[in-house]
């Protein structure tokens, strides 16, 4: 299965919208993209996981690596996710304490949400 990776750049941050399944097969593509973004000087990254159907520890590892990379440039990497089955993977591994997980892209970008 292909992993969808869409980059949406704005003034505040760069959004990386991920679609599909993140596992041992697809995680290297996600890693590559995160490395590329940071290398381009995009140090504030919002990884939108709303289109992700499945994520295992290989995907968690790549996100941890991305967070480390962003923070080493005084940036940050935050997540957007509302799917309980994905959030659960972060909860079990304690990574909810490492990542900020927002429930919408607007909340992650700090822009007012439509009421």
């Amino acid at each position: 299965m292909e992993l969808g990776l869409d980059v949406i750049a704005s003034d505040e941050a760069t959004v990386l919208a991920v679609r599909g399944e993140v596992d041992v097969y697809t995680a290297p593509k996600l890693r590559e993209k995160l490395v590329e973004l940071v290398a381009q000087g995009r140090h504030t990254i919002v990884v939108d996981l709303e289109g992700v159907d499945f994520l295992d520890s290989t995907g968690l590892g790549v996100l941890v690596g991305g967070l480390k990379r962003a923070r080493s440039h005084d940036g940050d990497l935050v997540l957007v996710c509302t799917h309980q089955r994905i959030i659960k993977v972060f909860e079990i591994t304690g990574l909810t304490k490492v990542f900020t997980i927002h429930d919408s892209r607007e909340a992650a970008l700090g822009t007012p949400q439509p009421s």
Partner: protein, 160 residues
């Protein structure tokens, strides 16, 4: 359950030890679990994730020793359980001596991108055991659940 019954309830899947096949293994296991067992959807997801972790470890173990052999995924259906076994031909490991990560609040935690698979498996399935087999390692994961009975089928028909 007799030995003959048990033997007839085994599904075995051999996958090449490459990442692109893990998704296929997940599909087979989750389809069997959701169509043949009384397992709630979120528990099927748990099993799917545990299976993915076990297959990933197996594939990495094969890469470590450079073997071209297949990874075996075995599904054994019992009266009160579904067992999923992943058998590799890797170097084997001792699950009791896995290194611990620093606490999540420690900035050092970000230096660890790997090693989450086994702890995940342990918390996702009802029972897990790791055993050295003749040529590698076998991870056996158990979910307690009964088979879907004929009664359930009739109920489904009545509702449809």
């Amino acid at each position: 359950m007799t030995v003959a019954d048990l033997a007839s309830s085994v599904v075995e899947l051999e996958i090449p030890a490459r990442g692109e096949y893990v998704g296929l293994a997940r599909l087979v296991v989750s389809s069997l679990a959701s169509s043949r067992r009384t397992l709630a959807d979120d528990r099927v997801d748990d099993l799917k994730l545990a299976l993915s972790e076990a297959c990933t470890n197996a594939i990495e173990a094969h890469a470590e020793v450079g073997t071209e052999e297949v990874v075996v995924v075995r599904l054994v259906e019992g009266d009160d359980r579904l067992e999923v076994e992943v058998e590799d031909r890797g170097p084997g490991f001792d699950p009791s001596t896995l290194p611990e990560h620093p606490p999540v609040t420690d900035p050092e935690r970000l230096n660890f991108e790997r090693g989450l698979g086994i702890p995940l498996i342990r918390s996702l399935v009802d029972e897990v055991s790791f055993a050295r087999v003749e040529q590698g390692m076998a991870v056996r994961m158990v979910m307690f659940c009964g088979p879907v009975t004929d009664l359930d089928d009739e109920e489904e028909l009545a509702w449809s």
